[in-house]
Amino acid sequence: MAKNSKKTKNKNPMQTAFTRFMLVVAFFILWIGGIGARLVHLQINQHEWLRGKALSQRRDQTKEKLLRGTIYDSAGHFLAMSVNAKSLFADPSEIEDFDKTAREVAKVLKVKANEILKPLREARENNRRFVWLARKLDEATEQKIEALLENKDLKLAGLHWREEQKRIYPYNSLAAHVIGFSNSDDVGLAGIEQSQEELLHGAVIKGWQDRDRLGRIYDEAETEEREPPKDIVLTINNSIQYKAEQALEKGVKAANAKSGMAIVLNPKTGEILALANYPTFDLNKYNEFPAEIYTNRAVQNMYSPGSVFKLVTYGAALQEKLIKPDGEIDCGDGIIKLPDREIVDKHCHDRISYAEALAVSSNYVTIKTATSLGKERFYNYSRGFGFGEPTGIELPAEAHGQMRSPGTWNGDSLASMSIGYELNVTAIQAIAAYAAIANDGVRIKPHVIKEIRQDEKVISRTEPEKTQIVSAETAKSLRQMLMKVVSSGTAKRAQLNGYTSAGKTGTAWKYDAKLKKYDESKYVSSFIGFAPADTPSVVIAVVLDEPQGGARDGGQVSAPIFKDIAEQILPEMSVAPDANIRQEVVKDEDIPTEIETLSASKTDKKTDKNSAESGKVKETKKENSPGDTEKNVKQKQPAAMTEKPKTETKNKSSGANKGKT
């Protein structure tokens, strides 16, 4: 019985079940514990290795280049824009039939098959697996290639696409020298593209993409944050720019000039509304043009301004109250004696008012005025007008100009400088000086960038520096004097229909660096003016390099271009007319000539006055230039220029000019 009860006790079903259950639980605990231990081992000890392995299976590293910033004109038109474009490359190791591939691709690309075949074979020989076949294709060509690749009969293998950026300039050559261009790697090489490279440059953004087993992207992110490129809004107005370019081209061709430049500036704001150079080039095909043509002559080239610089002399004298516009000066016989030479001014007879002297561009009166000013004051005013230092315009390689300090001047330097020789200026410096007079004596730094945008929000706006260089009263007096230049002086061809205008002509000899003297056969003819004369809305500078079509004076070749531009843009700018319509022909004989001849030299008594008068210029001494060193400047004497009387022009001028007189 006891044995039985023991047996019963030992075989208690509940206990047995419990024991069994516990065994199962223990088994499971061990099992789960084992799995857990393994998981801990895998996820902690082998975490990095496993993670890397997993990522490599599903994750792609990506590199995306942001589109380069856009350049707009002031009205919001695109001047330069980047778009995505596809480029075709080949992996020669995957290509079976080189000839067939080259033939088919060449047919679409409209090139010779050999141009495709040659690089492919070279790459195969050098075991290279990447060969560009065509870059930045247009949409139509891309579709044709795509169709080629999808054609199963052709079985073209080894051809792949790569996304790139393409810079497009919708207006081709418009404002080419301002906008500039960028190369195939999207690096700016000229103009705003170069100077604002940092802002425009599209950064490369690195990131990753996770793909599922079907290759679909289900997650992606950027691994580094970079500043997106900025957009630049220029002050250039595409319509004004176009008109300025058209007028300049016409004018350069008519004058048979080597080149020309025109700048249109708003004197109230310092905004450059147009900056044209001729000859120019197509921005979309810039590599088809010679590199010399890329030079923005208005900013990078210097020239002797000639009579245009008289603005500084008269402006300074008016400000110092040394002269009055209606004040008179006795010219005597029109001969001025300088330490080393004499200057003969045929325009100056007996008594003449300063306004009349400026109108006929009298060198005698200008030199006398400069002498009364003195070296220091003349130099200070010249610097005040902005000469001898860059204007700070946002364009690359701006020339400083040359304005030597009075310590380096020789005996005739003040006289030469007062009439625009022995110094060099850029067209942008010259127009900025005239703009100051148009703006009541306040000089505003000329600028070409209006604002910078990011994601269509303005992040910075140009606030130009303002400097009062002469009083408003002086500026007004100068404007009235400059009006006389247009109404009865050397710039009659700058008279506008419906608007009053003012300005100054300049005709200067070009300095020949090889001969180290001024070349009497080569001129720089310019006109800088503004309109309307009392309340100027625009200042326009026109400079022609080496006009050779007979007429060479600034008043004859540059002033008509000013007129052409101003008459078109003023109505467009909603500037109310302030004068009557004038459509009369201005004859050559009505315009006082400005061609400057070498003066009689004191040291060369034998210089034939008659020959000088008849236009046969006899040079007796070497001339210096602002580019010369101090030593050279002291050794060489500058040539003084005199204005030739009308009759002399008749004799000297040839071709069309001769015929007219």
Binding site: F78, M81, N84, R216, Q568, A576, P577
Partner: protein, 169 residues
Amino acid sequence: MSRRNLTKNKNTKQIRRESDPIPWRYCLLTLICGLLLVVGFFFAARQHFSSMDYGIKNSRLRKQKDELGDAQRQLLLAKEIALSPIEIKKAAKKLGLTEMTAANIETFYTGGDKPENTKTDKPSEQKSPNAAPTNNKPDAKKPEKDEKPEKKLTDSKDKKEVRETKAAK
């Protein structure tokens, strides 16, 4: 075969059961936890696949957005090219409009004091050196028969005439 030691014909009602070592409450709790776990797994799986699905859609939309952005840029460029002064000039020539030169822009004195150095010449009476011959002046030379008719659009009547000329062509 071992025989089970079970009492026969015993009144089972009199047998007092020992307390259950695994109470039903525990089983229920385990079951609920298990269910929760399973539901959680399902929920997590659903969320995971849903997120993947959204990720795929998002990626597609992003690509589509980029493509549309590219297309928009291309269209803007095409519009810009079409609106460029050169193209407008070409279109104007096709319509028979004359080129606008400085000489044929008519600006009129609007009032106020007449400036001293201005003249009251009318544009129709005198011509500037650069003036191109225009057909809208009464004394202008009429175009030759074989010349392309050029007309400056000044009013709707002129425009109508141009349209008619074009239609006739």
